[in-house]
Structure formats: C-alpha cells, structure tokens
Amino acid sequence: MRDDFRPGRAAVVGAAESDLGMVGAGYSALDLMAQGVGRALDDCGLTLRDVDGIFCATTQSRLAGLALAEYLNLPEAYIDSTSTGGSSFMGHLVRAEAAIAAGLCEVAVVAYGSTQRSLGRKNTSTAEWNPYESPFRPFLPTTAYALAAARHMHEFGTTREALADVAVAARQWALLNPQAWEKTPLTVEQVLASRMVSYPLTIRDCCLVSDGGGAIMLTTPARARTLSRAPVYLLGAGHCTTHQTISNMPDLVNTGARISGSMAYAQAGLTSSDVDVVGVYDAFTINTILFLEDLGFCAKGEGGDFVSNGRIAPGGTLPVNTNGGGLSYCHPGMYGIFLLIEAIRQLRGECGARQVPGAEVALAHGNGGVLSSQYTVLLGGAGTI
C-alpha cells in the first residue's frame, strides 16, 4: 500500500442493504445485488445511467462482474470482481476509490448479493477438495475457527464464557437494529448450552446463515458536493493474506489483521484510540477477540477479558459491531459489505437507537476465507480530511 495516500480523492455517497433474512423462493443473488444498487442510488440521488464502475463479488456467480453489467445494462462500465471471500468489499472500496482518482470511472458501485439461506450453503458455495485437509473432514469454515479458538484458550486462558460474551454483546446490539434477524435476548448460559458444532464453538458462536445483499456508491468529490448525503471518505486501508487453508496459517492466534490494521492506521495517521465505532468481521465469536487484539484495542491475549462485562455491548466503553454483526444481524456468506454499510451509516448519524453519538472515525475490518484475507479500512466524515 502506498505511504503517500491522500484521502478525499473520492467520496462514499450512498449505502443500502437489499432485503435481508429469507427473501423467498426464486430470487437470485443478482436480484439482491441489483436491489441493493437501486436503493444505494436512491440513497444518494444518482441514477443507474450515472454508473460507470462495477465492483462486486458473490459465490453464486462465476463471472459476477459480467453478470451485474448484464443485469444493469452497463456495457461500458469498468469492472472489478476480485474475490477475497468476505473481505472482498473492503478491497473493492479501496480499488473503486483508486479507480475514481485515476479517472477510470466516475460513479462506482460496490455490490454483493446472496441467497444462501433460501438455497442452502451447499448450493451456493463450491466445495474444493484439498488432499491435505479434506480427508480429515474439518467442518469448514467452523473447524478452522475452532482450531484458532482452542489455541487461544490454550495460550491465554481464554474461556468459552468469554467467547459467549461476544455473542451476547452482538445480540444486544441486534435488538437495537430493526433490520437484524435475531429479535430475542441471548444469555451466556444459552450460548454454552447450545448445540456443539466444532469444539469449542457452539452454534451460537457461529454466524447466521441468511440471504442478503447491499451496495455502496462512490463518486468524485466534485460530484459528491451536488448530492444530498454528507460524504464519507476513505482515510486509510491495509490488507494481509497470511494463507488460504487453515493448516497453512503461520500462527493461529496472530492474524494478518495486525499488519492490515497497522497499514491502515499509518496511512490515515490515526491509532486505535481515534476510532469511534468499530466493525470487525464476526463470522465466529473468536474473530472479535482476535481482531480487537490485532487491531490494537487491547493487548494480545487479553481479548477474552476485554470483551467481558459488557465492554463491547451497548453502553460499554467500545462500540463494536453495532448492527448486531454476522452473529445476530445478517450473514449471507460474504459479510464485508455490511460492515461498510454500518460504518457509513454511523458516520452519517443515521443509526437511531444504536447510534454512537458524534462518530467521526469508523473502522471496518473484513475477513475472508478462514482467517486468510484480512482487510482493514478506516472511514471518516467530512471533518476528518
């Protein structure tokens, strides 16, 4: 990542979810992507004919960029459909910003859609045979995260109760979000007593399996000034790919987020103490603990203590995953775009009961694969550039 990054070359001007949860038989991933695009355009006052840049990914289309260009009739749009799993959309945001700065496009959409709940996981993701892992039947991705959790427990004394605290905090935030899938309270005891999936992770340590999609819009600062919404800016970004398969992760308790976060902070000239609202990709409860450590919100090994006593729940000292997260709000398989949408909404002050008052700097941390791709972005309102 370049060190001379200068924020303000492009503005994030729109953000919207598609329908979430269980959308109904017959809807496609592209339907949800397009619905997200339509709503994000409405959100900022641009029209479909303004769009000349497509950045998208989904597990349900081998050529997602072509599919969305066809669906939206955008034959001349600049296309990037790179997939780094759930972190894809952080990468799309960074490259959309760069593409606008470079003059490759002027109005870019970052989009995602999935009908994973309606169709079932097996029908929406291709299982790849790996001769060094598949014969041992890890229940992926869960077992990969379980191995990380077990190692974290071994090295630092982290408890299953601490993991459960993450799920409980996410649920408390979800109860403040009308869009969240989960509508009832959750206790630590319930998490611990729920069905074991891959020890030490129970089903309540695992993210939801939902349908859903969304989109965000970026454009030039000049064009942003003509639009209705207060612009949000990319302040810094970083990424790190430590491995693809969990047996190749160098260190199960130190993720690439340490590097991706350092890059993002350095680029933005900020530290973790400057962040007002935090979003980390909580596919599993251990993720939140690992990422809060690796992104500098607490010391390595102290994540279990850090997430306890309601510290990351509503009313706590650090607002984390204010939409309810992948654990309780929605998780259609590649969750990164929802972290971006929530960060943008928090910076625009639109979050109602879950709004972090005066939020000016938001961190959105994407994760892809099995702790494989780590992608951190820092976003800020107009006052931050």
Binding site: Y132, P135, F136, P138, A146, L147, R151, M196, S198
Partner: protein
C-alpha cells in the same frame, strides 16, 4: 535449477508425497536456500522462489498444535487436529483415540499411514506417542 526448467513429467509433487505414504512414510520438502521445511508439496520454494526443493522423510514424531472435535448431525464426534512435526512443518490430521475431546494441545504424537475406505490415497494420522 531455475524456474524455467521443465517440470518432472510423470511425478507431481503431490504424487511423490502419496508414493511415500504408500510406503508408510510421511514425506516433506526441504528448501536448502531457505534452510527450512516446506509443506504442502509444491514445485518451488515459497520463501526463495528456488525450484530446488529436496524430498525428505519425517521421523514421524510431532506435537499437537491445535485440536477440535467435529459434531456431525449424523454420526459420532471425531477429532481434527493440526500437528507440528519435529522437522518444522505442520499438517492437518487427526489423533486416533477413544475420546476425541481428550486430545490436548502440546501432546506428543506419532505418525502412521492409513488407507481408509472411500479415499483413493493413504492419509497421515497420528497416535498418542506413549501408545505406539
């Protein structure tokens, strides 16, 4: 050898690995340039880009790096573990015991090659060291 030389035509890195398993051996590659083990088997060293990887056979002794127990909706729970071999490489495997939850991080284990029903190739599994 440079990266531009032709690849061994008949025996891919994976095929060589399987050939060793069929002989009851756990093989891995060693990079002289990087002075370290390389696993999974591949055609060039991921640390130096050097194609000159040597094949070595592990003594088969290792330590459990992490462990999980998968609870399938149908069938019995089973162990999945990551094993650090003494030669400095890690593999996914399972530790064969009566109680999969009893497998512990730090436990010493020993390799055995097994041919399982339903699999085309033998796989490396591990037994608690004291039991072998």
């Amino acid at each position: 050898m440079t990266m531009n030389e032709t690849l061994e035509p008949k025996l891919s890195p994976h095929a060589r690995y399987v050939q060793h398993l069929k002989a009851g051996e756990l093989a891995y590659q060693f990079s002289p340039a990087a002075d370290r083990a390389v696993f999974f088997p591949r055609v060039l060293c991921p640390y130096t880009g050097d194609a000159a990887l040597q094949w070595r056979v592990s003594a088969g002794a290792g330590t459990v790096y992490s462990t999980s127990v998968v609870y399938p909706r149908k069938g019995e729970p089973y162990n999945v573990a990551l094993i650090d071999l003494d030669e400095g490489f890690r593999v996914m495997s399972r530790v064969v015991t009566d109680d999969p939850l009893a497998v512990a991080i730090g436990q010493r284990v020993a390799f055995r090659s097994v041919q399982e029903e339903g699999l085309d190739e033998p796989i490396p599994v591990f037994y608690p060291l004291e039991a072998t």
